[in-house]
Symmetry: C2
Subunit: 355 residues, 2 copies
């Protein structure tokens, strides 16, 4: 592979990199302006293919390699985006991380990664700001509005992904956020389970105070009320596999008044619930209990689960994040919130009509 | 959360950050040397708790914030480690990423993340080297030995995680690598399935040319031979869920000479195989077919699968990587290879004795 044409192209006379060669030398040999050399090395900058090729050829001949770190000091742009994330055990987030980092890279950014526990996500920001990142994307974490504003003032605007901030009562400008329409998603789940003829519909919550959980539960509860039903029983799984196991045991261990359906705040938890129902309690899904999740992670489609779920559209969410970043960094846009629609994916873990 | 003591500590008079304040001002107010200020901000540097506290108090009073990027130019150390990874859909790698990034962070490094497709992992190196990272950790990717040497010469040594390089015949110094003892793992699987009394033992390979697959298959084949048995049938799943589905259909669709056991080159593939066997082909696991995987991802323990597997010990692998990084960067150590033992985890997807 070292000898492949691609690698020769990328590395050129790699062993002969000459630290005394500057972009001026390259410009002279390529017979282009120094600014053209700079643009040729700036992802997304306007430069013709022909000019870029001349620059790359000259750079290779001279052993020139641009220094991204030094450029940061000059341009005040690091072209680095910090991504703060927790909960990589929930398969939704590795997918987000994969697609987000690939998208940012294709936009010419690099990703400085911070995996945090839920509790320390605020504390990590002081560390991040030392690196003069152009922006910060925070996923699956809680952040106060005040802190988000502080970051923006320090030159690193924050975009919340799949979370809103806790709103302060007197808040004028909430920070940027990209979320699914979680409330509408909760309503979809309610209508689906009601149409399945269920009488005792339970809810297993994620993190009680997270915006995703608050919005999903509100939509679910309000729509059930509109349909003349209500949440029969409720437990909290805190978005973890183990938490959902406990919640399922709590809700389904007693035979009397056992729920005949459950809406679970995330797929990651819903898979745990199905495992407890079938492997521990000997219940059938969906004959004894219908299960509906939220996210549509790849495992939801696996043969062992075939989980009905509310899909979060990762593609459009990533696209909205990239567009928002561009607007914040290059167009002086104000913070804004984008909400992406969800949709119901029906599989065999839920009854589709009253039997 | 913004008002918590931790956040006040971390951010101090955050809104009053003064870009004209230098470490000299901080040193004067704190009555310590300028070098003590620098050490207070350098992860892992030797400085007393008392001195660090004086520095932090003075920095807060003055609104001082160190500039990590500028420090990079002075020290020639970015304290950034590039992590190159693909296959985040295989749950093994998000776990590795989480634990690796947390470990590197606790050692004072930051992680510059590159998620690549398998094919472009070499090409991404040219991009990485612009950032003057202190080192590169490559997981789940293939890299030629020659290229790894070039990176080391450019000042960014490479550690391969869970992969060896393709060895050249005349190679004197292979690059650094941390792997499981994949060959011994293959032997464990062979002994377990042989002890289960199986007569027609199949193998589903990962990527044919990957070192993990070559080593696991060699150990499996050689140990079966020692036991007087052999691989009855073989298919290739390329380490993907979809590839493993196809491989399982290919091996198990015919009723005659159908394998009665299968060793699958990764858990991610083994779960797909179990789904095909049970949901599509109506076969029972382990009564009709015993299944053994490799990795011990969290899903292997889930109720729906209960997969017998060969565990890769992520903790010791991360520890070995961190130790190796330290030796390469601070002790002038030569590249070396560390092999971490595997162990067999028996669950209910395989028969434990001949019936």
């Amino acid at each position: 592979m070292a000898g492949s044409p691609v690698m020769k192209e990328a590395f050129g006379n790699f062993k002969n990199v000459n630290k005394n060669v500057t972009s001026q030398h390259v410009a002279r040999l390529a017979q282009v302006s120094q600014s053209a050399v700079s643009r040729a090395y700036t992802p997304g900058a306007s430069v013709s293919t022909h000019t870029r090729q001349r620059v790359m050829d000259a750079a290779r001949q001279l052993g020139y390699r641009p220094n991204a770190i030094a450029r940061t000091l000059i341009t005040k742009k690091s072209r680095m985006i910090a991504v703060v994330m927790s909960q990589l055990d929930n398969q939704f987030y590795p997918l987000v991380l994969e697609k987000l980092s690939q998208r940012l890279r294709s936009d010419g950014y690099h990703v400085l990664l911070f995996i945090t526990s839920r509790d320390e996500s605020d504390g990590v920001l002081a560390e991040i700001l030392q690196y003069q990142v152009d922006a910060i994307v925070m996923a699956s974490t809680v952040l106060s509005s005040a802190l988000a504003r502080d970051c923006a003032r320090a030159g690193s605007p924050v975009i919340l992904f799949n979370r809103m901030t806790k709103r302060a009562a007197n808040e004028d400008h909430p920070p940027s956020a990209v979320t699914s329409d979680n409330e509408a998603g909760g309503r979809l789940a309610a209508r689906h389970l009601h149409a399945g003829g269920h009488q005792r519909i339970a809810y297993i919550a994620g993190l009680e105070e997270s915006s995703t959980n608050l919005d999903r539960e509100r939509g679910f509860r309000d729509e059930l009320a509109l349909l003349g039903s209500r949440i029969h029983a409720r437990a909290v799984g805190n978005y973890s596999y183990e938490g959902a196991q406990l919640a399922a045991r709590q809700l389904f261990s007693s035979a009397s008044q056992r729920p005949d359906a459950v809406f679970v705040g995330s797929d990651h938890m819903a898979l745990a619930v199905m495992d407890v129902l079938r492997s521990e309690l000997g219940l059938r899904v969906p004959q004894d209990v219908s299960v509906v999740g939220f996210d549509n992670v790849p495992q939801a489609a696996w043969g062992a689960y075939q989980l009905t779920t509310i899909e979060q559209s990762i593609g459009p969410m990533i696209e909205a994040t990239a567009t928002m970043l561009h607007a914040l960094l290059h167009e002086g846009a104000q913070p804004s919130a984008v909400t992406v629609p969800c949709r119901l994916i029906v599989r065999t873990s839920s009854k589709t009509s009253a039997l």
